[in-house]
């Protein structure tokens, strides 16, 4: 018999969002109570990193804006998600990110930028960027750190929140901070086990399947022509769910549903990358 832990009953608390009374279970964050706040570094399977500052909201009584992804709701809290101040903050954060980072493969970001009128080009043509050649040092996945916003999600997925491989960490400081293996060693020389759980959580496409990277490079990547089919991995008895993304009758990438109670979006090297045999006809 499977025992499902339903936890202790949680007290309900009331607070106000944009003038509306809302009731949420104790312990809920502001973000979870208002689902349409944009965010980049928040991951539904990870602890909040508080790094991107896209989701900042006003809380009455607070000197600064507060990150909605991590701030827990308190009884009577008065939250405003759409004021001149929050829009200014979001516009600036998106402009700063867009001026330093390649956001061309970040889902939804252009929509958010348009909403607040963000124009990253106003920092001028000489603005420093994190532009650098993509790291293609193994056959399975590519690290294109020109697209990295330093959200810490890959580090958290690789480390003690999920995989416990600890192959990567944030190194350096300030604008020079970057995701790195020890002494920038190539992945094959590092502790990486190619579970690909970092790709699963990357919000910008900085980490991508080699197949996707190559197809984007030769102009044949076409998401509108792809289907996504969720199935069960055949390699072992754990029963992880796989979502196969297929374009032109070819599997081009594999993800896993985050709400799967078995693995919460995490896979191993076999489920993530071991599908070539399907296509060896």
């Amino acid at each position: 018999m499977t025992i499902v832990d339903i936890g202790l009953p949680r007290r309900l608390i009331e607070f106000t969002v944009d003038g509306e009374q809302i009731t949420v279970p104790e312990g809920a964050t502001i973000l979870s109570a208002c689902k349409d706040i944009p965010t980049l570094c928040y991951g539904d399977t990870l602890e909040p990193a508080n790094a991107c500052r896209v989701c900042m909201v006003e809380v009455e009584g607070s000197r600064t804006l507060v990150p909605s992804c991590s701030r827990k709701v308190e009884p009577g809290m008065v939250v405003r998600t759409d004021t001149e101040r929050t829009r200014h903050s979001r516009r600036m954060v998106l402009e700063l990110l867009g001026s330093a980072t390649d956001l061309s493969t970040t889902p939804r970001v252009s929509e958010w930028m348009a909403e607040v009128g963000a124009d990253p080009s106003r920092f001028g043509p000489d603005a420093a960027t994190v532009s650098q050649p993509a790291l293609v040092d193994n056959p399975l996945y590519v690290r294109d750190y020109s697209k990295c916003i330093l959200c810490y999600k890959c580090v958290d997925a690789c480390g003690d929140q999920w995989q416990n491989s600890f192959a990567i960490a944030v190194a350096g400081r300030g604008f020079d901070a970057h995701i790195s293996t020890e002494f920038s060693a190539p992945l094959p020389d590092s502790a990486c086990v190619y579970c690909g759980n970092c790709i699963e959580v990357c919000p910008t496409g900085a980490l991508s399947f080699r197949r996707e990277f190559d197809k984007r490079a030769d102009g044949t990547w076409d998401e509108s022509a792809q289907t996504a089919t969720t199935t069960v991995c055949t390699f072992c008895g754990v029963g992880c769910n796989l979502t196969l993304h297929v374009q032109d009758n070819e599997i081009v990438k594999v993800t896993s549903p985050h709400d799967s109670t078995v693995t919460h979006g995490n896979l191993c090297i076999k489920g993530r990358f071991g599908w070539q045999h399907v296509q060896n006809t």
């Binding site: 909040p48 508080n50 790094a51 991107c52 500052r53 896209v54 900042m56 600064t64 804006l65 990150p67 991590s70 101040r85 200014h88 903050s89 600036m92 954060v93 700063l96 990110l97 001026s99 330093a100 106003r122 920092f123 001028g124 000489d126 603005a127 420093a128 916003i149 330093l150 480390g159 416990n164 600890f166 192959a167 990567i168 960490a169 944030v170 190194a171 350096g172 400081r173 300030g174 604008f175 020079d176 901070a177 790195s180 293996t181 020890e182 002494f183 590092s190 502790a191």
Partner: protein, 549 residues
């Protein structure tokens, strides 16, 4: 943990140094171990890092991430002797560039070294030997003045002798504290209206009461001696001149708040203070002033571990200091939870600045009533100010709260051709010559729209290139941002770029709009005080000083 290590092996010198430095096998030994390797050979090799990781069971990628966070560690081999020449604010206006050019050794351009009274400053560091300042010592300007309170023993009492310290009134405060009991001590400190002297001016008594009241154990005490705000050197003067007072005051704080263990986190650029404090802790331990049953009080146990920072301004932030001690990157944590609930190693923690603690000794020897008679009704006691820049007699000065800036400048020799004063440091703001009758109190500074910060009084006369000075402030914040949050990581870079265009007159009117926009998002949305204040001084130069940019 089942970790993958590197193939590289340490040299025998590296291995011996690391093994000798470790006092345990926990992650919190990482920073001391990295220091040991860097001190022994001048850099951190793959072999040394790998040995540290094996000994402490730390993943190499994480240890590399920590080592590269600190500017005092080199990840590449370099000459065994390097000279850190300070190019920061007080040294910049006192010929730092000429000092850089005059060096024959390998030069590292350094942020503020915290010896601004002897600007331009340089610190020579030699692998396997140690560190020394390259400037002559100068005496405390007010040495021996009978009106001194916090500084009364500095330059007068032998900082290596516990007996001399006791003969000069040392350990009477702890004796009184033990008689009052923890609650009594907190009451005295609260009634004395003592406010923190590190920059934020939080009421010390409230902080202590909040920590003492947490039911979980253990509680930790952290003495924040990581003063790195450009132009700040008061804590160094206290630590070098009166190190036993630091030990005694930490012991009092621990007694009041129920801590059995304290960490003294001192910035890595203070070799003399480090050596004198290490001696003071050792002597105090030998003589029963640290350890079990302190001063015969049955059941009162407390000891101090001293930790060296490694070149990171941000580690003076009260939660970044926890991560640094624990062996992680010195990145600030999101608050809440606050340190009094979840601090060092996740336990209730009280963090106090060195000067704040020094005031506690006065409160306990003379009583909160007498303490309150000095200063003003809201800013009680006296305050140390770090006077530097283009002024005749730079140094640390102690004046009662309420003295005016003019009186302070006159004490230090006056400034005939005053252009501006940077009050509070790089995170503070400028005052004009017509504003120097400002009484130096927390409340007067606040109502004048500025801050005393950490007590920086950096004087600029007519010879100073204000544009270049502002650029250095912007460069400082760019270099010292930890990189965690977007507003500060990218904002400090964009701020410097825009300011550069303005000062060098290569931009247009939009650059000022950009500066204000960047400043506002850094203030509103950065995680910690570094980003939130990174625009303060530049904003005040534009709006208050009327610097035409």
């Amino acid at each position: 943990m089942d970790l993958r290590f590197l193939a590289a092996a340490p040299s025998t010198v590296e291995q011996a140094a690391i093994d000798a430095a470790l006092t345990g096998d926990g992650r919190d030994q990482l920073l001391p171990a990295l220091h040991a390797a860097n001190d022994a050979v001048g850099w951190i090799s793959e072999g040394a890092l790998n040995h540290i990781c094996r000994r402490l069971d730390v993943p190499p990628a994480e240890a590399y991430g920590v080592a590269t966070f600190y500017s005092l560690f080199s990840m590449e081999e370099r000459p065994r002797k390097v000279v850190h020449v300070c190019v920061d604010l007080a040294c910049k206006v006192n010929g730092a560039e000429a000092l850089v050019d005059a060096q024959s050794e390998f030069v590292v351009r350094s942020p503020c070294l915290g010896v601004c009274e002897r600007a331009p400053a340089a610190l020579a560091v030699e692998a396997g030997v140690g560190s020394e300042y390259l400037m002559p010592e100068i005496p405390l300007p007010q040495r021996g003045d009978p009106g001194l309170r916090l500084l009364r023993r500095v330059g007068v009492v032998d900082p290596r002798s516990l007996d001399d310290y006791r003969a000069a009134g040392g350990y009477s405060a702890l004796r009184n504290a033990l008689a009052l009991g923890p609650q009594g001590v907190i009451r005295e400190v609260t009634d004395a209206k003592l406010m923190g002297r590190g920059g934020a001016a939080f009421p010390t008594g409230r902080k202590w009461a909040a920590t003492a009241g947490q039911p979980e154990r253990p509680h930790y005490l952290v003495c924040n001696a990581d003063e790195s705000e450009p132009g700040t050197f008061k804590d160094r003067v206290l630590m070098e001149g009166d190190p036993f007072a630091v030990v005694e005051s930490m012991t009092v704080a621990a007694y009041a708040t129920g801590c059995t263990r304290g960490y003294l986190y001192i910035r890595g650029e203070y070799p003399k203070a480090f050596s004198l404090l290490s001696n003071a802790i050792e002597v105090a331990r030998e003589r029963g002033f640290l350890g079990r049953d302190i001063m015969g009080q049955a059941g009162f146990e407390f000891d101090i571990e001293i930790r060296r920072g490694a070149g990171a301004y941000i580690c003076g932030e009260e939660t970044a200091i926890f991560n640094s001690i624990e062996g992680f990157r010195g990145e600030p944590r999101s608050k809440p939870p606050f340190p009094v609930e979840k601090g060092l190693f996740g336990w209730p923690t009280v963090v106090n600045n060195v000067e704040t603690l020094a005031n506690v000794l006065l409160i306990l020897t003379e009583g909160c009533q007498a303490f309150q008679r000095i200063g003003t009704s809201q800013s009680t006691g006296s305050k140390l100010f770090c006077v530097s820049g283009t002024i005749g007699h730079p140094g640390v000065y102690e004046v009662p709260f309420g003295a005016t800036l003019r009186e302070l400048l006159d004490l230090a020799g006056g400034v005939p051709d005053l252009r501006a004063v940077l009050l509070g440091g790089a995170a503070g703001g400028f005052l004009r010559p017509d504003e120097i009758d400002l009484p130096l109190t927390m409340e007067d500074a606040r109502s004048a729209g500025t801050t005393l910060g950490s007590g920086v009084v950096l004087v600029l006369d007519g010879t100073v290139d204000v544009g270049g000075f502002l650029l250095r402030i912007a460069e400082f914040f760019r270099d010292e941002s930890c990189g965690q949050c977007v507003p500060c990581r990218i904002g400090t870079v964009r701020q410097e770029e825009a300011l550069h265009r303005i000062v060098r007159r290569t931009g247009d009117s939009q650059d000022l709009v950009l500066l204000r926009d960047i400043g506002r998002v850094m203030r509103d949305s950065s995680i910690c005080g570094l980003g939130q204040t990174a625009w303060n001084a530049i904003e005040s130069a534009i709006d208050r000083l009327g610097v035409r940019l």
